[in-house]
């Protein structure tokens, strides 16, 4: 008998001993970060970056498979006893010696998780983790010239790249309301001093919003550069138009933190058929949030309509896609993304 067979038999026996629980339910009591456990992490430190941003140092569990510079990680944090999931860009380089990863979080107004992480999270706290994901990453072949175009917390995935890989010719244009709002400012200035980076800061409180046409003056050779852009929808929309107009859209890579909303639905009564719960939903709240609010266990992912981690059968009624305004009606086999779908009249989903 091979050792794997032996091990699986021993595990079966353990399961018979612990039923109706699983052996892992007991192992979690002593070793929540062990190999084979659900992926979790422990917060080791929370370091302030600016007045409303902080870097969270996380020791991931043994099952962590690492990340690629620019990717994000979903974390589940208990805020006031309620588990909330959010995605944050990883700001640590991939080759960090101690195996820790960092995320850098900017507290947004009314943001439950961001405010909790920036202002209240304590070292020692366990959080839930997913494997890193996202395709806003550096290519394998090094481009000759690079432009990073960022605004606000959009700097976070780019910081992960800057710390990870050095290029010969890197320019960064970063927008923030005021100098003290620039996250990682001293580190960026160190890179500038070492001639590893050319940096233009646009302080929008005094300079106004960045007009994308000004790139010609700030970075004359922008169209030749492989560009990574991350920031609010307005900036990214403008960049996508600008790059397309100049026929160089294949050089532009963008990362959005939130879906851009086109039309709201009409709302209606939502029935969660598996749990039998029924709640009223408005036309702006995604069904994912509606379900979570009602205590239904909803699978979730990126929460912005790209990862398909939240798909759920639509059993009855109709829903509207927040990004396109498109209506989907229930039919056997129809799956919807609950994170970008809202009720368009009464509907039922299988959760």
């Amino acid at each position: 008998m091979t050792s794997t067979v032996l091990r699986s038999r021993a595990w079966k026996l353990l399961e018979m001993v612990t039923t109706p629980l699983l052996p892992s339910d007991y192992l979690d009591l002593v070793s929540p970060l062990r190999a084979g456990a659900d992926l979790r992490g422990r917060i080791e430190a929370v370091r302030p970056e600016t007045g409303d941003a902080a870097t969270v140092v996380i020791r991931p569990g043994r099952g962590w498979r690492g990340h690629t510079a620019g990717q994000y990680v979903r974390i589940g944090v208990d805020v006031d006893g309620v588990r909330l999931w959010r995605a944050y860009s990883i700001t640590s380089p991939t080759n960090r010696q101690d195996g820790r990863v960092t995320i850098t979080v900017k507290a947004i107004p009314d943001g439950k998780v961001s405010n909790h992480l920036v202002r209240r999270a304590k070292p020692g706290t366990l959080i839930q983790l997913d494997q890193a994901t996202g395709d806003f990453v550096l290519p394998r072949a090094k481009p000759a010239k690079v432009l990073y175009l960022t605004a606000g917390s959009g700097i976070t995935p780019v910081m992960g790249m800057l710390r990870d890989t050095e290029f010969d010719d890197v320019v960064m244009v970063h927008c923030a309301p005021q100098p003290q709002d620039v996250i990682f400012r001293s580190e960026l200035h160190d890179l500038v001093a070492d001639r590893k980076l050319r940096l233009t800061e646009v302080h929008t409180d005094t300079d106004g919003m960045l007009d994308i046409a000004r790139l010609d003056e700030l970075v004359p050779d922008w169209a030749e550069r492989e560009t990574w852009a991350c920031g609010p929808a307005g900036l990214l929309d403008a960049a996508e138009r600008h790059w397309s107009e100049h026929g160089v859209q294949e050089r532009l890579h963008t990362e959005r933190f939130r879906p851009s909303i086109v039309v709201a639905g009409d709302g209606g009564e939502v029935t969660f058929s598996a749990t039998g719960k029924t709640v009223d939903a408005d036309g702006a709240t995604p069904l994912l949030d509606v379900g979570e609010e009602a205590g239904v266990l909803m699978p979730s992912g990126c929460r912005m309509g790209i990862c398909f981690g939240c798909v759920t059968p639509l059993k009855a009624g109709a829903v509207r896609d927040l990004r396109t305004g498109e209506i989907t009606e229930a039919e056997p086999g129809v799956l919807i993304q609950t994170c970008v779908s809202v009720a368009a009249g009464p509907c039922a989903i299988e959760r």
Binding site: L13, M16, V17, T19, D25, D80, G81, L84, G295, L297
Partner: protein
């Protein structure tokens, strides 16, 4: 059905006002649910698991009498915690708001032969909706007993003290049979119903796993302590069954608790539903430890009013609910465990014999008119 309706003095408007006041109590708890409550249930779950683990560990040496005693006591308490403060309440969805898939009504399984999804249907949907409605709420005497004067007497009921005692000893099996609605489903034409067969199979699987763990694997692991460990797990299951049966009897059977006719719940308003829960349940008074070991079902009245509020909050809710009972001049049925258990058993004995149809008492003034 008692002769006099103890809620007759309330107007329809008062009943709705009572409903609004109860809603306000509920909203207050929901608004203040948070980190402390989450920490509470996690602590209880972790304590239960450690206690069970240690007790089963001690029982590996159960051939030594002190180890047997200690292990059996620990395992009994662990099983009671699993079923009462944790299982019953998690399965009610009291902790669903935490959105922790490991502590959620849809994923939880308990140390009990009735699979949790079947129990949830018969308990949460039937018993809690139709509380104490004759013919609708099977918890009323579990279909084997007569617990109200208005229920029809049958010679079978002569044996009900014995049926109740046997049910108490093997309570978890009684519940499993009851969740399967065996008495109804064993009829010839129902027996082959595929839905029933699937549910019966699920119960069979659950029983097999439970029995294998308690009566085969754990004793085998004990080696020379095989027989003492077998006796220990049997005792722990018996203790858990007797205890939970007693607590649950106290919830709806003691004297003073009202039952209701089927017709009386037609078109029931929220206020009337609350009122039925208030009149159809009874509490147990006692210490904090007592409340804990009953899974806070000692606050049965509060639990029936708000089945999905976290159990650790019932004690504070009880103070406000009791004040409402006084305000609306209603009887809050409560008492220490021995008294309530005696009262419930007394009823089981009393109603094993037939009784006269209860007289509806007519007011004195009307009697005078009739006599004249």
């Amino acid at each position: 059905m008692t002769a006099i309706d103890p809620t007759a003095h309330l107007t329809a408007e008062q009943i709705e006002e009572l409903g609004r006041e109860l809603d306000a109590i509920r909203d207050e708890v929901i608004a203040s649910r948070g980190e402390k409550d989450a920490a509470y249930i996690r602590k209880v779950i972790s304590a239960q698991r450690k206690l069970e683990l240690v007790s089963r560990g001690v029982l590996l040496f159960s051939i030594f009498p002190p180890a047997w005693l200690l292990g059996t006591a620990g395992l009994s308490v662990a099983k009671i915690m699993d079923n009462m403060e944790i299982g019953h309440n998690v399965l009610h969805g009291q902790w669903d708001w935490m959105r922790d898939p490991k502590i959620h009504s849809t994923t939880w399984e308990w140390d009990h032969v009735s699979p949790s999804d079947q129990w949830k249907h018969s308990h949460n949907e039937l018993h809690h909706t139709y509380t104490n409605v004759i013919g609708k709420d099977n918890d009323l005497g579990y279909g084997i007993m007569r617990v109200d004067e208005d229920q029809k007497w049958h010679p079978f009921h002569l044996g009900q003290p014995l049926w109740n005692f046997i049910n108490a000893c093997f309570f978890e099996y009684g519940i499993a049979a009851y969740d399967l609605e065996l008495s109804k489903n064993l009829h010839k034409h129902r027996r082959k119903n595929p839905e029933f067969r699937a549910r019966a199979k699920a119960v069979g699987r659950k029983i097999r796993k439970q029995v294998l763990k308690d009566y085969v694997i754990h004793p085998l692991l004990s080696g020379p302590s095989f027989l003492p460990t077998l006796a220990a797990t049997f005792t722990a299951n018996l203790v858990r069954n007797l205890w939970s049966h007693s607590v649950i009897m106290c919830g709806h059977f003691p004297e003073g608790v009202q039952v209701f006719e089927r017709w009386s719940i037609k078109g029931e308003t929220r206020g009337q539903w609350y009122l039925r829960q208030m009149m159809g349940s009874a509490n147990i008074s006692g210490s904090k430890a007592m409340h804990f070991m009953t899974g806070n079902l000692s606050h049965q009245i509060e639990h029936h009013l708000f089945p999905d509020l976290p159990s650790n909050r019932y004690a504070e809710v009880a103070v406000k609910v009791r004040a409402l009972f006084e305000k609306y001049e209603l009887e809050y049925v409560t008492g220490p465990l021995p008294k309530q258990v005696f009262s419930a058993w007394h009823k089981v004995f009393r109603l094993s014999l037939p009784n006269k149809k209860p007289q509806v008492k007519t007011p004195a003034r009307e009697q005078e008119l009739l006599a004249a």
